[in-house]
Structures are given as C-alpha cells and as structure tokens.
C-alpha cells in the first residue's frame, strides 16, 4: 500500500520544487507515493498506472522485474506518469540522496509533459481513464469469459502499432472527403476547333493521356477508402464487423496506444531534459557536500553508455547541453556554418547568451525526429563517438559499419521516424469486389519480419472476417502476403 510521504520527504519535495521553479520549470502538481520494492515492481509492470485491465503481459513484466531486482541486475529508481496531477513513485529503500535526485528528475519530466507540444492533446486524466478501461474489460470478462476476452485483447494488441504516429492527436472518426456531386466526366473535354484544325488543337495522344487520368480518378472514387488510411485500427473500428464489446476493446487498445505514442516519440528529448535538470538542480543547489559521491555514482550509472548501445538519457542530455552551449556562444547560423577555420571555431563566442532561452523553446516545439534532425551536428557525432552498426550474417555479429555523420543521422532518424515502425496503411477494403482488405507497406529497404507479419495478418483477418492482403517486399521483390482464414499465400506483384 502506498505510504504517506514522511515529513523529511515532504520537505525535500518542497525544496526541490522551489529550485525547479526558480529555473523556470513549469509542471502540474506532483504527487509522490512511496512503495516498497514488491509494490514498485507491481506498479511498474502496469506501466505506473494503479488500475489497468487484466492481461498476462503485465504478469510477464512483473516476473521479469522482480527477478532482475532479486538478482540485483536492475532496480527502478524513478517512475512518473503523464497526468494532471502528475504521479511519481519513490522506492522506500532508497537513500535520501537518491530520492532527491529522483524528485529533481521528475520535475524535469513533469515540465516536459506539461509543455511539449506532442503531449498537448493527451488525456491528462489518463489514470482515471485507464481505470475505466479496466472496469469495462473486467465486465466483458465476466460476461463473455476471461479466455475469450483475453484472446481478443491479444489480437488487438498485435495491431496497436497500426496507428498514425504522426497525428498530433487521436482522431475520433475518419474523415472521408466528400465526393463530387455530379458524375465525373468520362470523356476529356475537347476544345472547339474547325475540322481541319482538330488534330492540332485536340491531339489524340494528349486526349488519351487525359482519358487515362480521368479513368484513374474514377477508379479511385470507386475505391474504399478513397485515400490510403494510416490509422488502420480506426478503419477497422469503423468498418469491421465486430461485436459491440469487441469494438470497445479495440477502441480501448487504440486509445492507450495513442496516449503512449508521444512518450515514444520524445524519449530522447524527454529523458535528456529530465537528466539535464536533475544534474542542474542537484549540482547547483540541492546537493549536500556529503552526498556528492553517491550522487555522482548514481548519475554516472544512469548515463553510462552500454558498450555499443545508445543510451537515450546520455544522448539527450548531451544534445541539450550542446544546444545550450551553441546558443550561449552564438555557434549557429550561416557565419558559423561557413567558418572552417579550426582555431576560430574552437574559440567562437559571440556572447549571445540565449542558451537557456533556446532550450525552453526547443522543449516546447520539437519531438525526437525534428530534434535529431536539427541539432545533431557533425561535431557532436565526432565528439561523442557515435557509429552505425550492421549485422553480418556470415559471422553472426553486429559490426561497426560507419562513423560518418550523414550515415549516423540517417540511421538514427530511420529508427525514430514513425516511431521506428514500418509504415503500413489500409489502401483498399473491397479488393476484387469481394470485401477483401488490402494493406500496403511502404518499403524503405528493410523487410518486415516475415513470421510475425503472417501471424499479424491472421489477427487482422480475425477482425476483418474476410481475406486480408499485405503488399510488401520479400527478398527485395515486391509481393503480396495473403491470409484467407485457413492458409497463407505469397504472390509476386507488379509495382
């Protein structure tokens, strides 16, 4: 059971929040709960939400967390959820200096949640909403059977990345642009011409091209949906023959996926931001000299780059510091870009002093993709030793393949765009006039994991009830994967 904050911790919270506000951080009211390690593992298994619907994967998480805690592999220092008020958890067994650090870190997250644009449309009462979801799903389980509902949940969760990650907010319904009132013309319009001028004014090849365009347009009008729909889950919600409870369950899964999406889209920024602020608050204001060593140890532990791995805390923190320095010293703009004198660059300082200000602007208006795109510089990549790695099938090893700035940036962005998920959209729902569903994967040179893709198709089929197809590439050849309820097919297709 959550414990009341002790007087010590409450005083600490007040102090830390005063420091944070003095720096200009702005957050909702923060409510801390102190938990022992079993409780914190339980809460963490549910993603920090006190009430979630029943599902085995939370049990799986819990076992993993408890084991790795028991074996001393990892422990949870900090957990905070985007809500108003913002909830955060403290591990009872932690040292006071750890609690300080966590509180400072949480202030950073709280500020980011409240002010970054991508969280602007998230539900700030999500704790309540999730509890409602849980209650509804429990009710369905009582009415239709635990097994049945959980199985359907599994299917829904397998589709939960088929949403529009780039949408600024969740859409309640799909907007289909209105069709033209009149029948679209089938024949291209001819210009009036005298008979002997006809073939010059209305040349046959132009007319043919025009005719083809019209036909294409007409075909599209007849197609449903008329434009590819990225939010495939919404499409299924609105058009698949689901039972009412099934529709609601799918809706719940979609709702939560949209709620979590901004966190995935701003992981590097958000963690970096919180780390920047905990280090500022701790080192400049809150730290007692006697706590220095412990603080440094734990801070270093969080920032440690695992061999060959990218630590979003570290990358984010360093990028934020880089931004601060660059806008403090005026290291941006065309003069800076054009300068290639090593000495001059090294000592470049226009005393612009806008570092902090720029940071606050950036934290409001950027997400990971735009953040990396704009603020990752060749100097930064070189200084921090970033590299690209690839898998070598012959040796079975991951190998550093490139240290070039462009390659690093491209790879990073690839992993972040669309949240690192393949771009898949619904293109047709009445394929061959037989109500078959066609999804299309926008191929970017990386194939889907085939076995998982087939299983996912089965789940879509279960929802759609008619054969489903996925246009994608296998072995660099364009193909259509199909599932008709009993067997899988793979057929070549023309681009």
């Amino acid at each position: 059971m959550p414990h009341e904050l002790t007087i010590d911790l409450r005083t600490l919270q007040e102090q830390i929040e005063q420091h944070a506000c003095a720096y200009g951080l702005d957050f909702f009211e923060i409510i801390y709960e102190v938990l022992d390690w079993e409780e914190i593992n339980e809460v963490a298994a549910y993603g920090g939400y006190p009430a979630r619907y029943p599902h085995w994967r939370f049990g799986m998480e819990y076992i993993e967390l408890s084991r790795s805690y028991a074996y001393g592999l990892s422990r949870i220092y900090e957990m905070v959820i985007n809500n108003d008020p913002t909830y955060a958890y403290l591990l009872a067994a932690n040292h006071l200096v750890d609690q300080k650090l966590v509180m400072a870190h949480v202030c950073g997250h709280g500020d980011f949640f409240k002010n970054n644009f991508s969280f602007a449309h998230t539900n700030r009462k999500m704790v309540d909403e999730m509890a409602n979801h849980a209650a509804r799903i429990r009710r369905y389980m009582e009415a239709f059977g635990e097994e049945e509902v959980e199985k359907f949940l599994d299917r829904c969760l397998s589709l939960d990345n088929l949403i529009d990650y780039n949408a600024p907010h969740i859409r309640r319904s799909h907007y289909e642009p209105p069709r033209d009132e009149q029948e679209p013309p089938v024949e291209p319009r001819r210009l009036r011409a005298k008979e002997y001028m006809e073939e010059y004014i209305n040349p046959e090849d132009v007319l043919a091209a025009e005719r083809q365009k019209l036909q294409e347009k007409q075909r599209r009008e007849e197609r449903f949906p008329s434009h590819p729909q990225k939010d495939s889950v919404l499409f299924l919600l609105e058009n698949a023959p689901l039972k009412n409870w099934e529709r609601d369950v799918l809706g719940v899964v979609r709702e939560e996926a949209y709620y979590f999406a901004p966190q995935g889209r701003s992981k590097i920024m958000n963690e970096g931001w919180a780390s920047y602020w905990h280090s500022k608050i701790m080192t400049e204001r809150a730290l007692d000299p006697s706590e220095l060593v412990d603080y440094a140890d734990h801070h270093a532990g969080t920032m440690a780059p695992y061999p060959g791995r990218l630590n979003p805390y570290k990358l984010g923190l360093e990028l934020w510091r880089d931004i601060e320095e660059r806008w403090n010293k005026g290291r941006h703009g065309s003069d800076w870009e054009a300068c290639d004198d090593f000495e001059a660059r090294k000592n470049w300082d226009t005393r612009e002093g806008r570092g902090r200000e720029r940071m606050f602007e950036v934290r409001r208006h950027y997400n990971d993709v735009t953040f990396i795109d704009e603020f990752l510089t060749p100097d930064f990549v070189r200084k921090h030793g970033l590299f690209v790695y690839e898998y070598h099938p012959s040796t079975g090893q991951y190998v550093i393949s490139d240290r070039d700035f462009a390659a690093v940036k491209e790879k990073l962005l690839f992993g972040l765009t669309n949240f690192g998920q393949p771009w898949i959209e619904v293109v047709e729902a009445n394929h061959l006039n037989r109500g078959e569903l066609v999804l299309s994967h926008r191929y970017e040179g990386v194939p889907l994991k085939l076995d998982l893709a087939r299983e996912t198709l089965e789940n879509i089929h279960y929802v759609w009830k008619r054969p489903v197809h996925l246009e994608t590439h296998v072995d660099e050849e364009p193909v259509v994967l199909g599932f008709d309820g009993s067997s899988h097919t793979t057929e070549p297709r023309k681009e």
């Binding site: 339980e42 298994a45 029943p54 599902h55 085995w56 994967r57 939370f58 049990g59 799986m60 819990y62 076992i63 993993e64 967390l65 790795s68 959980e150 969760l157 397998s158 589709l159 088929l162 992981k267 780059p305 695992y306 061999p307 060959g308 791995r309 990218l310 630590n311 979003p312 805390y313 570290k314 921090h384 970033l386 590299f387 690209v388 790695y389 690839e390 898998y391 099938p393 079975g396 090893q397 991951y398 190998v399 550093i400 393949s401 690093v408 790879k411 990073l412 992993g415 972040l416 690192g420 998920q421 393949p422 990386v446 194939p447 889907l448 994991k449 998982l452 087939r454 996912t456 996925l470």
Partner: protein, 368 residues
C-alpha cells in the same frame, strides 16, 4: 487487498506451461535441460512470448551505438540482448525466460506427450515401511481426533435409552462417556523400489555426439522411472573389452579406445544385481547403449546366454539402444533380434538426435 498482479502472473505462467508442452519435443532432444537440473526443480528456457506485430527484424535494421572502435569492430553477436536506439535505457534487456517445473511435472508432461503407459511396479508386497493408519475407534484420545459422528451416535443412543430425547426439540448433549476418538495403528506398507543399471560402450567408435544422445536419453528415462518409484537408484557401468563400474560423471565423459566385448558388461551387471538388488524386492531396469560393433569370437553367444539365464529373468525391462556412429552401425542389434525373444527385452535403434523421442517411446511404451 488481493494483488491484481497475482492474477496476471498466474495467467502468464499458465500460458508458459502450455507453451512448454507444445515445445516439449524440441526440449526433449536438446541437452539443455540436464545442466539446469537443480534439487527438485528443473528450469526450462521458454522463448519470450511476443505478440506478433508488423515490425522490422533487428538484424535487418542495424542501429546506432556509441563508443570507441574502428569501422569493422564487432560490438556484439546475435542473441545478445542489445536494444535498438528507440528503446534502450530504463527497460531491462530481455532475457530468455525460464520457467521452473518439478521433476514430477516434467515427467507427467513427457508421459502425456509420448502417451506413455504408467509403469506397474512389481514386487510391491515385498518391501515395506511402517506407516500410521487410522483403523479404529477408542473411548479415549486427544480432542483433535474426536469422531463427531460416532460421538453423536453414542449420545443419541444414550438419550433414547434414558428417555431424555425429545423429538420435538432434538437436542443432543454428549457427556464424557459418549466421546469416541479415532485411533491409529502402525502398519507395514509396501513401497516400490527400483534400480536402473546403465551400461555404455565406451570403445573408440563411440564419439561425443553418441554420448550426448545417450546422456539425453538416459536423463528422460531416469525422469520417467523416477516418477513411478519412491526410491530410485542408478548405477553406471562402462565397458570396452572389459567392464567396470563408474560414477555418473565418468560414465558420460570417458572415452577409451579398446575393442568391444559386451558380455563383460552383462556379466558385471548380473553380478551386481545378484549381490545387491534381489529381484524379489527390487524393480530392476537395465539399459545398454552401444554402437553394436561387438567383437567376434563367440562373444555374441555369450551375451545371449547371460541375457537369457541371468538378466532377463530378473529384469522389469532390458533396453538395448544401438546408437549409430560415424562408422555406421554394428550387427549386435540384428543378432539379438534373431536369437532372443522376450517380452521384457526392448531393442531400439537411435540414428540421430531426432530419433531419441521415438526411442524413449520404444523403451517405455510397454509400461514395464
């Protein structure tokens, strides 16, 4: 408050157990279980349960890392829990999950999977231990053993006899004399004991792969038989041209280069059983693994005699498994087939790892 997580955890464990059952065949033919055997529990690795999604394989995408090293420096091999750039950090790396089963559960799973009949132990009468059994009723005893029913009956009888019973208000009040208590007696109870004698040919032609097959197969045989007996003893004999008894470790690791005289092992086995495990009190199992390349010179005949006269009469089961080696397979199996017919003699040919399952079924499918 009942922890909600308990329900989710149980659901997950149920699913995992189901998955183990599905994958049991794969586990059975791999050696990985044996090394993980603890006191009572066996840990079985389960592949992570991952909900299918449209996603990229990690191998195909590669990623971005940080640290020293030139182009071409390896940073980790396949299977390392290296996360992609999107998800590293606070989430712990994903390991292969393990689930713990008791040996008993494991045996049951295998039995179900292979449709093995349960073993009927023989000689159940001959070996006994004292055991407490509730057999009667006494007038005195501890309150915890009071028999409510009998006490009630006595009280009812007494009240009827004395006329104090009122059918309109049937209140029964027992007094001291009505009290009845359950009583127990020590009785000898039969238990079933078993011994398995493993014999293995360690001549030059039995390579590591052959030994591994023997190891895996005997682990499962052990597990199954153990599930049916209270006490199970195992003895290990190795032989090339001569036989000797060794410990378990040596049994699986020794490799010698001599020739093969199978009769030497049979002789030793028969002696051990005669000396230490009287067949009236013991269920005796023999399992012999060899590549079947026996020396000529009448040794085969000697084996037949030993089997016929000394081993088979005492044995619940005599299993002979012929493991195919690089040099092909010997003639011993054929020879046995054509010379001996006995209900408790089972012959099985194990060509490769995948044949282990079938072979286990050969051996244990008779319910002996």
């Amino acid at each position: 408050m009942i922890k909600r997580i308990e329900r989710d955890r149980r659901r997950f464990e149920d699913i995992v157990r189901g998955k183990i059952k599905q994958d049991l065949k794969r586990h059975l033919t791999r050696g990985e279980l044996i090394g993980r055997r603890g006191e009572e529990l066996v840990s079985i690795p389960v592949p992570q349960i991952e909900l299918p999604r449209f996603r990229y394989g990690r191998r195909d995408t590669g990623g971005v890392g940080q640290g020293p090293g030139d182009v071409g420096t390896p940073i980790g091999s396949d299977g390392d829990p290296v996360d992609g750039s999107g998800a590293a950090g606070d989430a712990p790396g994903h390991h292969i999950r393990e689930v713990e089963l008791t040996i008993q559960e494991l045996a049951e799973l295998m039995g179900e999977e292979l449709e093995l009949p349960r073993i009927q132990p023989k000689g159940a009468e001959s070996l006994t231990v004292p055991k407490n059994r509730f057999t009667g009723i006494k007038r005195a005893g501890p309150e915890s053993l009071r028999s409510f029913k009998r006490t009630y009956k006595e009280a009812l009888k007494r009240q009827l006899a004395s006329g104090s019973y009122n059918p309109r208000r049937p209140v029964i009040v027992p007094v001291r004399e009505d009290m009845r208590y359950r009583s127990f007696r020590e009785e000898p109870e039969a238990i079933a004991n078993a011994v398995i004698l493993y014999m293995m040919d360690v001549s030059g032609s039995m390579g590591n792969e052959q030994k591994e097959i023997v190891r895996i197969e005997s682990f499962w045989i052990d597990t199954w038989i153990r599930a049916h007996y209270d006490g199970l003893e195992t003895r290990y004999l190795i032989h090339d041209a001569a036989a000797r008894e060794v410990d378990r470790e040596t049994f699986y690791t020794t490799r010698e280069s001599g020739g093969t005289r199978i009769s030497s092992a049979y002789q030793l086995a028969a002696d051990i059983v005669q000396r230490e495990y009287p067949p009236q009190a013991w269920n005796v199992y023999f399992f012999h693994f060899s590549d079947g390349d026996n020396w000529g010179g009448g040794d085969d005949e000697k084996c037949f005699t030993l089997l016929h006269e000394r081993l088979l009469p005492d044995a619940n089961l005599f299993g002979y498994g012929q493991v195919e080696s690089r040099y092909g397979s010997g003639q011993f199996l054929h020879a046995l087939e054509s010379h001996l017919q006995a209900e408790n003699l089972v012959l099985s040919r194990i060509e490769e790892r995948d044949a282990i399952l079938r072979s286990i079924k050969d051996f244990l499918g008779k319910g002996k």
